[in-house]
Chain length 738, copies 2
C-alpha cells in the first residue's frame, strides 16, 4: 500500500486472462515435461498465448491470454449466435462480427466465460479440452482468473458504506462475476429487504403478543409465501434484465458422462450418446435407501445426543453435572462432521453413478441430496424438542435411563441414577425457545466467524510463517541450491516479482462455490418459516446477520477465494424448490407449534399431556390447505404484476416478430381486389332470367348454383326481394308492419 | 337412400364453405334490406362469393365460398407464417406460396378454420368482421359449415364396428373437425383404455375384497394419479403430432373486450388497448362471494332435500309414504335446473364483467366457475351422506322434525310425526352405496339417453309434424299466397330443392360445444377418484358407458348438431387442472371413506359413533401427503418416457437450429491458424538472453511480460527446464527420483 510500485502491481494483471497451475510433485519429471508440452500445445491450438513461470511447491504457473483478438471475437460471435438460436437473445446478432460487438460490447464476465469455455470445451466442440484435475489433465490443479484488486477494493468500500444495494450494484456483479453469483447476491438482497417487515412485526409481536402467537404465525407464513412467489417473479425479471433468460436450456455436456451406446439420428445425422433413461431411473431409485440411511444415521445420532442431554440436564443429579452437560455437544461436534462428510461423499458417488448427461441435471440431483442432509441436521433437533419431547416427554423420559450408562462412572450412589417417574419429571418449556435462539442467533454468528474471520487469521498466520521461514533461509545464505520453500521466486524478474508473488498467493486460495452460500440462506429461511413463532425476534436476528452476510460474502470472494469463473444462470435453480418446500412445511409446523404451545409453552389446558390429537391434526389440516390456496392466489396475483423485464421482453419479441413477418410476407402476392361490377340497372327478372339458365345447362350443378347471382350486389337484390316478399308473420310485430 | 339423386344431394355440398343464416323477423324490412346489403358487401370484400336463398321462418340463407383461390392461399400462407413466428411450426414455410401449399397440403379443418376467421376477424386484421348475434350483426343467427354426410356415415359405421379407436381415427377427426374436438375424443379414448385395468381390478375387488377395501382405494388413487400425469404427457405428444404445440400462445382477441385506455408503445409503435390488471383483479375478487353464494344456494337446496328424504324415508311412518318419498326428487328436479341456470348466467355475467382480453382467458375463467357449480351439484349429495349423515346422523336426525311440516297434511296422528330419539334411529349404511350406484350407473344412462335418444325422437316428431302441415297446405291448394310454413321452398329451383331442404334443416340444429362433453367426462372421473371405494364396480360401469359415449358423441356431432367450427387447441385446457384437483381430493375422500366405513359401512368398532377424530385425520394426512409425493414421482418418471411426438420435435428443432447456425456463421471469418513457429534449436539462454531483454526495455511492462516466450514451444522449453531444476522434495516420492 505504501509504495506506488506495489499498488500498481496490485492493480494491473499484465493482461493475463487465466492462470493454470500445473503441479508436478506427484509424477515423474520426464512425464511431467511431456504433459506440460501437451498442455501448452492444446492451449496454443485454440489461440491462446502462454507464458510459463515458476510456482509454489513443485508447480508451474501458466499464464494465458487471448493471442488473436479476431479469433476470439469469432468465438464470442459464435456463442451469441448459439444464445440466439436457443432463444436466450431475442434478436439475432448482426451479420458482421465487428458491428455485432460494437452494438453490444463485451462485459468482463462474458469475456472470461468464453475464454474459460475455450480452454475447457472438448476438442470436438472447438475447445482445448483442458479441465482441472480430470483424466489426462490431472496435473492441472486449477484454472482461475486474476482478481481485479482495484475494483474489489472499491466494491467493498462502496458496499460497506451503503445501507441498501441498488440494482446497479447487482448489474455490476453480473458484469464482473457473472449472472450466477449475481443471482445469489440479488436473492440475499431481496430476502434482506423482505425481512424488514417481519423484523418490525416480530418486535411488536414480542412486546404485545408474546410467544406462540397465532397472529404472528399467520402473518409470517403469509409473508414467506409472498416472498417465495415474489422472488420467482423477480428472478424472471432479472434474467431478462441480464439477458440470460432461458440460458439453462443451453446445456453443456458433462465431461464425466459415460454413454452406454452410440446412435446416429437417422434424419438429423446427429451423433447421439445414449444412456438409457430407464437405467438411470433404476439408479435414481437408490436415492430412497440413501435417504432412509441418512435419516436413520443422522437421526439416531441427533436423537441419542438429545436423549443424553435431557437425561443429564433434567434427570441426572450427580457430580460433574456442569461438565457432563457438554457431553452431547462434544459428541455432536466430533461425530456430526464425520457423518455428514461420509454421507456427502456417498451422495456425490450416488450422483456420479446416476450418470447425468448435463451439468445442470447433475447439480440439481446433488443439490437435492445435500438439501436432505442439511434439512435433517438443521431442523431435526428442533423438531424433536417440539414434537417429541414436549408432547411425549413424560412418556419417553422414564426410558432414558439407558443413558445412565454414560454417567455411571461419575455417579456416587444409585439414587442419582434413579429412573425418573412420570410424576416427578416436568417438561421444561423454555428448552425449545433456547434451542431456537441458539440456532438463529448463536449459530449464525459462529457461522459468520467461521466463514470470514477464521480464514483471515489462518492466512495471516501462514504469511507470518512464510516470512519467518524465508528469513531463516536468508540467514543460511545458500543461494546456489535454493531451499524448497524459497525456490519459487528466486528466478523472478525484478519487475514481475510483486505480480508473481500475488499470483502465487491467489493460486493457493480455495475455489468459491456459490451453492454453499445459497444453501446457507435457504436454511436460514427455513428457521424463519418453520420455527420463528417460538421466538418472534428471529427475523430481527436474520436481518442484522444478512446485512453483514452480504458484505462479508463480498469480502470473502475478493480476498479469500480465487476469482470465480463467471458462469451464467437464469435462476437460483433447485434452491427455489427448497424454498417452496420449506414454506409449505412451515405452514404445518407453525400451526402445530401454535396449537401445542398455545398456553405459552404448555398445552391448551396448562399441561402438555392434554393435547388433543384431532384438534392438533385439524389445525394442521386447515393451516396447510389454507397455505396451498393462498399460495395459488398469491402466485396468480404476482404473475399479473408487470415488470420492466417483462416489458423489455415483450418489446423485443414484438420487434423480432414484426421484422420476420414483414420479411416473410414481402414476396407474397398482393391479393387481387375483388372485381366489383358497376351497379347496373337490374331487375330480378333480368338476373335470374331463363336465358341465362339455359346457357348454364351445360355446366355442372355446382357451377349453375354459383352462377345465379354474379356478385354481391346481385345477391343483395335477390335477398332484398326475398325479404320484401316474405309473408307477414302473425304476432304483435307484424301488425306494426301492416 | 333409395334414389341416386337424393344420396347425391346428401353427399355434395355445392362447393359451399359456410352458410350464414340471416333472420329478419324482429326488425323493420327496409332496415333488414340495408343490413343484408352491408353483410354481403363485407363478405365480398374479403374475397368470398355469395348466393342468397330463402330460409325457414323469415330468414335468408347466405351461401359463401372462396371466390379467388389465390387470395385464399395468401391467407393460408399468412396464417402459417404467424404460426411459425409463434413457434407453433418449427420450420418456416417455403417462401413461394404455391410450393408451401404443395409441401404441406391443406386439411379440411385448416381450410374451414381460415375461412371462418376470414369471416369473423375484425376489418383491421383483414377480415370481414362478421360475428353471429353480436352488435351490428345481431341478425346473423349462425355461421356454420355443411356436414359431409358421406364421410359422416362412413365414420359412424367404422366406429360402431370397431372395439378400439386407433391413432389414425383421431388424426382423421383432427383433419375434419379440428384439433380441439380431436382432443376431446383422444382424451375420452385414453380414459377408456385406462379404465380397463380398474374395471378388472374392481371386479376382483368386488368378489374378494368387498366394499371399502383399503387396497382398492390405494390402487385406484394411484391409477388416477398415473392417468392424469400420463394424459399430460400424451396431450403434449398429440399436440406435436397435430402441429398445434403452443397454439394457445397465438391468442385471438376477444371481440367483447372493452379497453379502458389506449396507449402507444413508445418503441414498437404498437397500439395497445389497456384494461388495468389491478382493476380486473378487483373484479375477480367477486368470484369469492360468487363461490360462497353458489355453495350456500346449491348446498342448502341439496341439504334440505337430503334432510326431507331422510326424514320421510327413515323417520316418518304415516300414510302416502311411498309417494312422499319422491317429494325431494321432485323438488330437486324442479329447483335444481332453475338454480343452476341462474348461477350459470350469473357466472357468465361475472366473466363478462371481468373483461378478459383473449378468448382463452375468458374460457378459462368461465370453466373454473362452471366446475365449481358442477362440483357442488355432482358430489355434495354423496359428501353429505358420507361425512355428515353417517358420522353425525344420530346427532342430527332428531333435529329433522322441522321437516315434519312438509308431511303434516298427510299425517293422521301425532305419533307418526314424533321426534325420533337418538336411540331408536339407526343409520342406514347401504344409503351411501345406493347413492353411488345411482350417480355412477343410473344417472349415466339417463344422461346418455337425454343426449342422444331424446333429441332424435324430438327431431323425428318435428319432421312428422311438418309433413302433416305441408299435406294440409297442399290440400288447401292456395298456391298464390303461400302459407308461412311452406313458403321457404316454394321458389326453389328443382335441382337445388333437396340440397336447400337439407341446409334448412341443418340451420335449425344446435351449435356443438365440446366443453360440455369434456365436463361430463371430467365429472365422471371425479366419481371414480372420490367415491369408487364405496362400490368397486364403478369403473366397470364407466367402461361400458364410455364405449358407448364415444360413439354416441360422434353420432351427436354428425346428426344433431351443426358442423362445428374446426378450432385448434393444444390441450384440454382448464379441465386438466380439474382432473388434478379431483384426484387430489380423491386422496382425501378415499382415505376418509376407507377409515369411516372400514367395518363394511360401520365404524371401526361396529358403530359409526366411535369414529376417532384423530385417527380419521391422521389417515387423511398420510393419504394426502403420500398422494402428493407419488404424484411428483409419477410425473418425473413419465416425463422421462420418450415419445414419437417428442422425437419429432427434437428432430425438427435440430434441423432448424442447424440451418440457422450454418446460415449465421457462413459469413464469419475463418480464424487464422495460430502461427506455430518451426522448432528452432533453442536453448534457455538464447530464449531469455539479455539482448532481447534490452531491446524490450522500451515496451510496456505487459508487452515485456508476454514477449519473454514467443510461442508455446518456447513456453514448453522454459517450463521443462523449470521442472528439471525443481528442488528434490523430501518424502517417499523424492527418493525414487534420486
Amino acid at each position: 500500500m505504501a509504495s506506488p510500485v506495489r499498488s500498481n502491481a496490485l492493480a494491473k494483471n499484465m493482461d493475463v486472462d487465466y492462470v493454470l497451475v500445473f503441479r508436478f510433485a506427484s509424477i515423474d519429471r520426464s512425464k511431467a515435461q511431456e504433459k506440460l508440452g501437451n498442455l501448452l500445445k492444446a492451449l496454443a491450438s485454440v489461440g491462446l498465448a502462454t507464458e510459463v513461470r515458476n510456482g509454489e511447491k513443485h508447480s508451474l504457473l501458466i499464464f494465458t491470454k487471448v493471442a488473436s483478438e479476431d479469433h476470439f471475437y469469432g468465438e464470442v460471435y459464435r456463442s451469441r449466435v448459439q444464445d440466439w438460436i436457443h432463444g436466450v437473445r431475442s434478436a439475432a446478432p448482426e451479420k458482421e462480427v465487428k458491428t455485432a460487438l460494437e452494438a453490444d460490447p463485451l462485459t468482463e464476465a462474458e469475456r472470461l466465460r468464453i475464454i474459460y469455455q475455450l480452454i475447457t470445451k472438448p476438442a470436438s466442440e472447438g475447445g482445448a479440452g483442458v479441465s482441472a484435475k480430470k483424466g489426462e489433465w490431472e496435473n492441472v490443479e486449477s484454472i482461475f482468473a486474476l482478481h481485479d484488486h482495484q475494483y474489489n477494493k472499491a466494491w467493498i468500500k462502496r458496499w460497506s458504506t451503503q445501507w441498501l444495494l441498488k440494482p446497479e450494484d447487482l448489474d455490476d456483479i453480473r458484469n464482473r462475476l457473472g449472472a450466477k453469483i449475481a443471482f445469489y447476491f440479488a436473492f440475499t438482497q431481496s430476502y434482506f429487504t423482505f425481512l424488514l417487515f417481519p423484523a418490525a412485526f416480530g418486535v411488536l409481536s414480542f412486546v404485545f403478543l408474546g410467544h406462540f402467537s397465532s397472529i404472528y404465525a399467520v402473518v409470517i407464513s403469509l409473508w414467506c409465501t409472498i416472498f417465495v412467489e415474489f422472488w420467482k417473479h423477480q428472478e424472471d425479471d432479472l434474467a431478462v434484465r441480464w439477458n440470460v433468460k432461458g440460458v439453462s436450456s443451453v446445456e453443456t455436456k458433462r465431461l464425466d458422462f459415460r454413454h452406454e451406446k452410440e446412435a446416429t439420428d437417422p434424419i438429423s445425422g446427429e451423433k447421439l450418446q445414449i444412456f438409457p433413461a430407464t437405467k438411470r431411473f433404476q439408479r435414481q431409485l437408490m436415492q430412497i435407501p440413501f435417504g432412509i440411511a441418512a435419516v436413520l444415521a443422522l437421526g439416531s445420532l441427533i436423537a441419542t445426543c438429545f436423549g443424553i442431554e435431557i437425561f443429564i440436564s433434567e434427570v441426572y443429579d450427580g457430580p460433574f453435572k456442569s461438565v457432563l452437560v457438554f457431553l452431547p455437544t462434544v459428541i455432536l461436534t466430533t461425530c456430526m462432521p464425520l457423518l455428514t462428510g461420509l454421507l456427502t461423499s456417498a451422495a456425490t458417488r450416488l450422483s456420479d453413478y446416476e450418470n447425468y448427461e448435463t451439468d445442470s441435471a447433475y447439480e440439481r440431483s446433488m443439490t437435492q441430496k445435500i438439501f436432505v442432509l442439511n434439512f435433517i441436521t438443521s431442523y431435526l433437533p428442533l423438531l424433536l424438542t417440539a414434537f417429541v419431547y414436549v408432547p411425549f416427554g413424560t412418556i419417553i423420559v422414564p426410558y432414558l435411563d439407558i443413558f445412565s450408562l454414560t454417567v455411571k462412572p461419575f455417579a456416587e450412589d444409585e439414587k442419582q441414577l434413579k429412573t425418573p417417574s412420570a410424576n416427578s419429571f416436568e417438561i421444561n418449556p423454555s428448552r425449545l425457545r433456547k434451542q431456537v435462539i441458539y440456532f438463529t442467533v448463536t449459530a449464525q454468528i459462529v457461522n459468520l466467524a467461521m466463514e470470514v474471520i477464521v480464514p483471515y487469521l489462518k492466512r495471516q498466520g501462514f504469511i507470518k510463517l512464510k516470512e519467518m521461514q524465508s528469513k531463516k533461509t536468508a540467514k543460511k545464505g545458500t543461494t546456489g541450491t535454493p531451499s524448497p520453500q524459497a525456490s519459487a521466486d528466486l528466478d523472478d524478474n525484478a519487475e514481475e516479482k510483486e505480480f508473481l508473488a500475488r499470483v502465487r498467493s491467489e493460486a493457493e486460495l480455495d475455489e468459491y462455490d456459490v451453492t454453499d452460500d445459497l444453501r446457507e440462506m435457504v436454511l436460514q429461511f427455513g428457521y424463519l418459516a418453520l420455527f420463528s413463532v417460538v421466538w418472534p425476534l428471529v427475523p430481527v436476528s436474520f436481518l442484522i446477520n444478512n446485512w453483514i452476510e452480504l458484505r462479508s460474502d463480498a469480502v470473502k470472494i475478493c480476498i479469500e477465494m480465487q476469482r470465480p469463473v463467471p458462469w451464467r444462470a437464469d435462476t437460483i435453480g433447485p434452491w427455489l424448490d427448497a424454498l417452496s418446500f420449506l414454506s409449505w412445511i412451515g405452514s404445518i409446523t407453525m400451526a402445530a407449534l401454535t396449537y401445542l404451545f398455545s398456553n405459552d409453552g404448555l398445552g391448551p389446558d396448562g399441561t402438555p399431556s392434554t393435547v388433543r390429537g384431532w384438534a392438533l391434526l385439524l389445525s394442521i389440516f386447515f393451516s396447510e390447505h389454507l397455505y396451498l390456496a393462498v399460495r395459488q392466489g398469491v402466485a396468480i396475483a404476482i404473475s399479473k404484476i408487470d415488470s420492466p423485464g417483462q416489458q423489455k421482453m415483450r418489446r423485443e419479441r414484438f420487434l423480432v416478430r414484426q421484422s420476420y413477418f414483414q420479411d416473410s410476407l414481402k414476396n407474397m402476392k398482393v391479393p387481387p381486389a375483388l372485381t366489383d361490377a358497376p351497379p347496373e340497372k337490374i331487375t330480378r327478372e333480368m338476373l335470374e332470367d331463363e336465358a341465362r339458365m339455359g346457357s348454364l345447362k351445360s355446366a355442372t350443378r355446382e357451377e349453375r348454383f354459383w352462377a345465379r347471382q354474379r356478385n354481391w350486389r346481385e345477391s343483395a337484390i335477390v335477398g332484398q326481394n326475398l325479404i320484401q316478399k316474405a309473408p307477414v308473420e302473425e304476432g304483435p310485430d307484424s301488425k306494426k308492419e301492416l
